[in-house]
């Protein structure tokens, strides 16, 4: 019988089928970070359990650590040190490989896992972090979990999972110049809503996916969680294989041949049926920017803040009114009339080399507006080194953008550093939630190119505005 890619990945990991769509699923890799991983390891130790396969588990410091130069275990977040210490001790106790603060391969979990080929096609990988779905770009079944489930997976190498339904999102057409994967995923979220993927494992496919590099595919999959989806996946192809080959934890020699032969079977069969189908013509999608406090509150950079009467549903209308008040935007206001105070480039969504290149291309030869504070945080030490080798750091610094050390940084406010109350930020991150980047901070999410253009103009702007 014809199978979807999801079904193939699922079937190959079922340890025991409980019927009614629920199964014990084998977990090949686990990734932990200091904020939620530390709690899971501590609790595991306290309950007298151990990590079943420590060699399959990896840890990193990304959430709480500072991104300022000369950082140490002492963080701007008052109690940050306790998380860092607990993570380090927990990894040592369990025998887990840790990418520690100033190691040459430290970085954001979802950036370094692919960089080191810890995630591979055909594997299952979980991490107590909602953006784990980014790694589905490699044709692996990956999903975000809570700390209790992380303990469960660490102790048993398995998780009990209710099987999600499948949704195929086909991206047809050619992506316009100036449009990125970020714009496409924001367009999708704005169209089907922040709960539009709930209950589904989404497979992205179509010509536009084939044309995307791995980094763009990761950006696309990264925000599947903002659709409330279980995860996202993309079938591995030559680009996937070329990306992974030779990386540290990639299979070598005959194991590589064996693996790549198997990976070729990881596609949805032509006749496979999905529970839901969506087709998007990407050639009509331009730059997108959010105006509210949910990624579904996004529209074209050329658009306006919607009018109140466009919402009929009571709770949608309540969310809209709350968002408009929090963001201090007016109905009918053109997005391009919104002045910005700050700009942020980085995160597991857009903190990879291709993202930094996209921003630097716009910034080159420009200065950011005098009133704007802008920060660029590479997603990993490797991204930072690669960017510096290309001279991107010099472009950012010359434009007036701070160049930081890797981490999640101000994608959210861990309690240490924020842009400030009522400060308006345009950001390459994934969430424009209330208080996400700090108490009272107002976030507009957009692509790296759009953030760079906006930083230069001092207002929400399109890359096209710079040419005029």
């Amino acid at each position: 019988m014809a199978q979807t890619l999801f079904e193939k990945l699922w079937q190959s990991h079922v340890v025991r089928d409980f019927g009614s769509g629920s199964a014990l699923v084998y977990i090949d890799r686990i990734f932990l970070h200091e904020r939620t991983g530390s709690v899971a390891l501590k609790s595991l130790e306290e309950t007298g359990r151990s990590v079943r396969n420590p060699e399959q588990v990896f840890g990193t410091m990304d959430h709480i650590i500072d991104t300022l130069p000369d950082r140490s275990d002492v963080t701007l977040m008052p109690s940050g040190t306790s998380f860092i210490t607990a993570m380090r001790n927990g990894c040592k106790w369990a025998g887990i490989k840790l990418f520690d603060i100033n190691d040459a391969d430290q970085g954001i979990a979802h950036v370094i896992s692919p960089e080191k080929a810890i995630v591979l096609p055909g594997l299952t990988l979980v991490c107590p972090d909602s953006h784990t779905c980014s790694q589905g770009a490699f044709g692996a079944l990956v999903w975000g979990i809570g700390s209790s489930e992380a303990e469960h997976a660490l102790a048993t190498s398995c998780l009990r999972v209710s099987k999600p339904k499948t949704m195929r999102v086909t991206l047809e057409g050619s992506v316009l110049l100036g449009t990125s994967a970020k714009d496409i995923i924001l367009h999708l979220i704005a169209n089907i809503g922040a709960a539009g993927g709930r209950g589904y494992a989404i497979e992205f496919c179509g010509d536009a996916i084939g044309a995307m590099d791995m980094e763009a595919r990761m950006t696309l999959c990264n925000m599947a969680v903002e659709l409330s989806a279980f995860t996202a996946i993309i079938a591995p192809d030559e680009k996937t294989i070329a990306y992974l080959k030779g990386r540290e934890y990639a299979p070598k020699d005959t194991a590589w041949t064996h693996a790549t032969t198997y990976w070729a079977s990881l596609v949805s069969d032509a006749e496979a049926m999905f529970d839901a189908e969506i087709t998007l013509d990407v050639s009509s999608i331009g730059e997108m920017v959010s105006w509210g406090t949910s990624p579904e509150h996004s529209c074209s950079v050329e658009g306006i803040v919607p009018f109140s009467d466009s919402f009929t549903d009571v709770s949608k209308k309540t969310s809209y009114e709350k968002a408009r008040t929090y963001m201090d935007v007016k109905q009918g206001q053109r997005l391009k009339e919104i002045q910005i105070d700050s700009a942020f480039i980085g995160s597991c969504t857009n903190g990879r080399l291709a993202d930094l290149r996209a921003a630097a291309t716009i910034l080159k030869g420009h200065k950011i507006a005098p009133h704007v504070k802008a920060i660029c945080v590479p997603g990993s030490m490797q991204v930072k080194a690669d960017a510096e080798a290309e001279g991107l750091d010099k472009i950012f610094i010359a434009a007036g953008v701070e160049w930081r050390l890797p981490g999640c940084s101000m994608c959210f406010y861990a309690g240490g550093e924020s842009f400030g109350k009522k400060v308006r930020v345009i950001s390459t991150t994934n969430r424009n939630f209330e208080n996400r980047q700090g108490p009272g901070t107002r976030t507009h999410i957009a692509s790296p190119a759009t953030v760079a253009a906006s930083a230069i103009m001092g207002r929400v702007a399109s890359v096209r505005d710079l040419k005029k």
Binding site: V39, S79, P128, G146, E226, E296
Partner: protein, 205 residues
């Protein structure tokens, strides 16, 4: 894990879609490597006028006297979306919320509830809105929740049946530890792992 018992309690409604886990517990409120001590940070961004001084915001619904003893929370679509932080569930539970009735939940949050003995109930959006109206009655708004029979009894005495996965129901009713349950399947796990190692040796480090 403590077993979920039948409850009869006051309910409080927060009818807004997409109440995310950053709203439920902001990052800065997760101060210790612990599952405890989190209730003070629950809804901190809304509950306090100033999160440093902890001055209460009198307009926030949980700060209103009639909802002080609420153990049931009623919400709209996609409750608990966003960050996977289980601290959101730990904080709700510690605060005293035993059940959440919503039009839908984010999948990670839902699972986190089950793993901590907090009952998540999905009802149609209109029902959630209707229940929310009932909570505004100053006479009191006690709802009864009977997990065994999968029933909600509203303050007017009307019965509503809800659906829940059989395994989740059993785990909540008996307060089962999910890790212990999986460890009982050790034989299956070892045999699966052996097969996988021989078929896909590249998948192991």
């Amino acid at each position: 894990m403590k077993a979920f018992e039948r409850i009869k309690a006051l309910a409080v409604a927060m009818m807004q879609d997409n109440i995310d886990t950053d709203i439920i517990i902001p990052s800065r409120e997760m101060k210790q490597v612990s599952k405890k001590g989190l209730s003070d940070g629950l809804f901190a961004g809304r509950r306090y006028i100033d999160s440093n001084s902890r001055e209460l915001n009198p307009d926030f619904i949980l700060n209103k006297r009639q909802y002080g003893d609420a153990k049931i929370l009623i919400a709209g679509e996609n409750f608990g979306c966003g960050s996977s932080r289980e601290h959101a569930v730990w904080a709700l539970k510690e605060y005293g919320i035993d059940a959440i009735i919503a039009a839908s939940f984010s999948p990670i949050f839902y699972k986190n509830c089950i793993n901590n003995g907090l009952l998540p109930i999905i009802v149609a959006g209109e029902i959630a809105s209707y229940f929310a109206c009932l909570t505004e009655d100053s006479e009191g708004s006690a709802f009864e929740i009977n997990l065994l029979d999968q029933l909600i009894v509203d303050p007017k005495g009307e019965h509503y049946r809800f659906e829940i996965d059989e395994h989740d129901k059993k785990a909540l009713l008996l307060g089962l530890d999910p890790i212990d349950q999986t460890l009982q399947m050790q034989k299956d796990i070892i045999s699966f792992e052996d097969q996988r190692k021989s078929k896909h040796p590249w998948a192991f480090i």
